[in-house]
Amino acid sequence: MSASNNINITLKVWRQKNAQSKGQLESYDLKNVSTDSSFLEMLDQLNEELINEGKSPVTFDHDCREGICGACSLYINGRPHGPGNRVTTCQLHMRSFKDGETIYVEPWRAAAFPVIKDLMTDRSSFDRIQHAGGYVSVNTSGNTQDANALPIEKENADKAFDAATCIGCGACVAACKNASASLFVAAKVSQYALLPQGQVEAKDRVLNMVKQAQKEGFGPCSNTGACEVECPKGISLENIARMNREYLAASLSK
């Protein structure tokens, strides 16, 4: 471990009682934060203090705390998942901040991700996009063909994997000035487009998933590429290009 030390910080945290009420930033001073703590461990420390003072602790989504479940979702100092690239909030460590620094913590901002409470948002719109086509229609049977019956070119298998590593956190939407879900949709469309198993339903899939994203209130692609920069899993913009090709081809032939 690197040499750790303790810092004092000021937090400006978005507090909002529920979806209906208006929220505001509240200020908290927090002392003796270990630079080896993760950002969420720092918030645990804040909550412990708030509880001991008889105040209401800050609500935020989190679960695995190892960067893979996609639950954590904080907008820190104006960036989804805060400073640093390719990290989720739970993997962000306090060594990224300076002693005396003021840190702004807000929820994802997007019409399709309404705030539930404080820093927690409702991302069920992402699930509904997946319901619209994020699957291969194959029943569980135990008698599908042998897994090695159909070789898949390594390059395509690797690219499909890269696309499939999306954790569904929503940083791409939070980063986009149009609150577009293009990178999220494109990741799933690409994964299947690159694999033979995905071909049969490819056209319906891309059309239905894109349509659902629009219906949920996500905006059109802004073409700025902010999503790729902020994506904690480094999902490439190439996937959006692939989705657009798939979409165009599907719309022309359907």
């Binding site: 969420l40 645990d44 893979i68 069920s124 699930d127 897994a147 298998a157």
Partner: protein
């Protein structure tokens, strides 16, 4: 009640086939009239929900997360075992069965484990058909790697994110059924009780975690896939929300809890950094394919490393103790997890730990030899003659990056050290619980109509689970076992009709849940939930952890009971019942851990032998290896709840080994 494991008659290899041929089926039209509740949406629950819906049942699925995709199966890294023998290295269903029985230290059921090995190959076929992007070689075929405790390569993987890819596969299968309306999904809901009507599981009480509302849900059968209870230790590799509540409530309603003391302490996790630590992060076992574990040979070197005066790379080869290679030459760094963990503890207890934390606990996991080996191979492949050391390292690092890139990134993110340049520091941490709800061969608990799948049951791993077998078991249970065995039970329910939720049984269960939550909310204590959880975790880790003894276990039982009393007197839960209240969620879970912890320690005290992950200091060989007592302890300890953990009644299911001979496990 006597325990009937319902293992089918006949030769081992025919049991499952015969059983499937003989159990009753429900016709497709009748399935439409039958409701099934599935609690948990990880690999076991998610795959069960999807498959049951495909078969035609009406499924109601529950998860506490905001989406089924976030269940903690997602964090499994290394891989999934299957007896495909794609590498032609002598693997077979029998070998996977044998390795699993042996790895579990002869404390699991032969018939269950054989079935697991038998369906393992189907899992890979099914996942590939779903579009799960497993790693492939240049010929386009699936790649394999090796895991601890075995001598073949049967582990399928997707970089260090195999659990994620398999879970997203199950999630996609669920999505297809959600879209059809065959699965009704309840996100952000937590099961707080199971409801029994006429002695059968007929529904659950759940709390809507957004509104705080207590809800009644009915069904003809209830399936738990709610995961393990490693968080009883507070610090573990489990997700923050992983809990025992669903299992524990089932236990209190009559489901026996089996072998609670069987816990897996995973050897390769990032060491604890300090008191604010909230969880521990695993570094996949797959790293032991290429990483070598060592500590300095000299105490003064270990001290100098801890003090930052000596860099590990400056310690000469002859001054390093590759203790796993030394003690276990045939399996080397790939010994099973329990063995590797104890060996690390032994070195650190002797003062050779390399991490500068309170307990000086940590050992090195070193990739420098692998980087050189791969670098030379790559140079040959690329036809580079007389490559420089720099070039070899560069090429070798690329190979390592391809195999484990995301793990190395994660390590650097957490520790601020670059594992390509300096060895990783690792230490064992609580990872998985082999114990769980007792189930018969059909995965039914001792409560009729209540089933348990995946990590929350006890069934397949005995006293120690082999790496890459958790994913295998979760998906085997959910895709290929439960959906068929449950039909045999539901065949009696084709004329039952919908189960009403206005019965007195539902009302009583709901009232009890509400009362318990109100008690927590209105407690007006002075200490936070985490305060108690951390205290419980320390008792568990120090006295019921990697090494246990009679004195410590007796103390733990006493201390946990006292802590539980203090919890109910002094816990402070802010907020209201009827709102989103994360502290209340935690309080309910910790209340259950405080009961489970005591039973856990009792079970460990009762089992006067060492086996797998359960190591009693009184029972070890001269060389410090686990010493089993087969004459007295070849049984499953299934505990019946009778009002208090201290009064739980022990039932024994004798384990019969007809196909393998019980031997002392040796990896030397």
């Amino acid at each position: 009640m006597s325990l009937d494991s319902k293992i089918p008659e006949g030769p081992l290899k025919d049991k499952w086939t015969n059983h499937k041929n003989n159990i009753r089926l429900v016709n497709p039209a009748n399935k439409r009239n039958i409701d099934i509740i599935v609690v948990g949406t990880g690999l076991a629950g998610g795959s069960a929900a999807a498959t049951l819906a495909e078969l035609g049942y009406n499924v109601k699925a529950f998860c506490y997360q905001d989406s089924p995709r976030r269940a903690h199966s997602i964090a499994a890294q290394g891989g999934i075992n299957a007896a495909k023998n794609y590498q032609g290295d002598g693997d077979s269903t029998y070998r996977l069965f044998y390795d699993t029985i042996k790895g579990g230290d002869y404390r699991s059921r032969e018939a269950n484990v054989y079935r697991l090995a038998e369906v393992s190959a189907n899992i890979i076929d099914q996942c590939v058909a779903q579009g799960v992007p497993f790693a492939r070689d240049y010929g386009g075929l699936l790649d394999n790697r090796s895991f601890g405790g075995v001598l073949v390569s049967r582990t399928f993987y997707a970089k260090g994110q195999t659990g994620q890819q398999l879970l997203l596969g199950a999630y996609s299968a669920m999505n297809r059924q959600i879209a059809k309306g065959k699965i009704q999904m309840y996100n952000r809901h937590e099961m707080l009780d199971v409801v029994l009507v006429d002695g059968k599981a007929r529904g659950i009480i759940a709390r809507n975690l957004v509104t705080g509302e207590i809800e009644r849900h009915s069904a003809h059968a209830v399936v738990l896939g709610s995961g393990g209870y490693g968080n009883v230790f507070f610090l573990s590799t489990n997700a923050m929300g992983s809990n025992v509540t669903a299992s524990w409530k089932a236990h209190k309603k009559g489901a026996y809890f089996a072998n609670p003391c069987y816990t897996q302490i995973h050897p390769t996790c990032i060491p604890v950094h300090g008191t604010q630590q909230s969880k521990l992060t695993l570094m996949s076992e797959s790293l032991r394919n290429d990483g070598r574990i060592w500590v300095p040979k000299k105490l003064e070197d270990a001290q100098a490393v801890r003090e930052g005066k000596l860099k590990p790379v400056d310690i000469k080869e002859e001054d390093r103790d590759y203790y796993l290679e030394r003690r276990y030459p045939s399996f080397g760094n790939l010994v099973p997890r329990d063995v590797a963990s104890r060996a690390a503890k032994e070195r650190c207890d002797a003062g050779f730990g390399v991490v500068n934390n309170d307990t000086k606990e940590g050992v090195f996991l070193d990739f420098s030899s692998a980087i050189l080996r791969y670098g030379k191979e790559e140079a040959n492949v690329k036809g580079i003659e007389n490559p420089s050391d720099e070039k070899i390292k560069e090429l070798g690092k690329k190979v390592i990056e391809n195999k484990y890139g995301n793990l190395f990134e994660m390590y650097q993110q957490i520790t601020d050290e670059n594992p390509y340049e300096t060895p990783m520091k690792i230490y064992p941490a609580v990872h998985y619980t082999m114990g769980g709800i007792w189930v018969d061969y059909n995965l039914m608990t001792t409560v009729p109509g209540l089933y348990a799948t995946g990590e929350c049951n006890f069934s397949d791993h005995g006293a120690n689970r082999l790496g890459a077998s958790a994913l295998m078991q979760g998906l085997a249970d959910g895709y290929f076992v439960l959906p068929y065995t449950i039909g045999d039970y539901l065949a009696d329910d084709i004329r039952t009709g919908p189960i009403p939720t206005d019965s007195k049984e539902f009302e009583e269960a709901e009232n009890k849940v509400t009362d318990e939550l109100n008690k927590l909310i209105n407690n007006n204590g002075s200490k936070s939930v985490d305060y108690f959880h951390k205290k419980l975790g320390l008792i568990m880790w120090n006295k019921v952890g990697m090494a246990r003894n009679e004195k410590g276990l007796k103390e733990a039982i006493q201390e946990i009971a006292e802590l539980r009393e203090e919890f109910y007197k002094d816990v402070r839960v802010p907020g209201e019942l009827n709102e989103l209240n994360q502290e209340l969620e935690k309080a309910g879970r910790v209340a259950d851990f405080l009961e489970l912890g005591e039973l856990f320690a009792r079970d460990a005290l009762e089992r006067e032998e060492s086996c797998g992950g359960h190591f009693r200091e009184e029972f070890q060989t001269e060389e410090g290896e686990a010493l089993r007592k087969d004459d007295s302890y070849t049984y499953v300890a299934a505990w019946e709840y009778t009002g208090k953990p201290s009064e739980a009644v022990l039932h024994k299911e004798d384990l019969k080994f007809e196909n393998v001979e019980l031997k002392t496990r040796s990896y030397k």
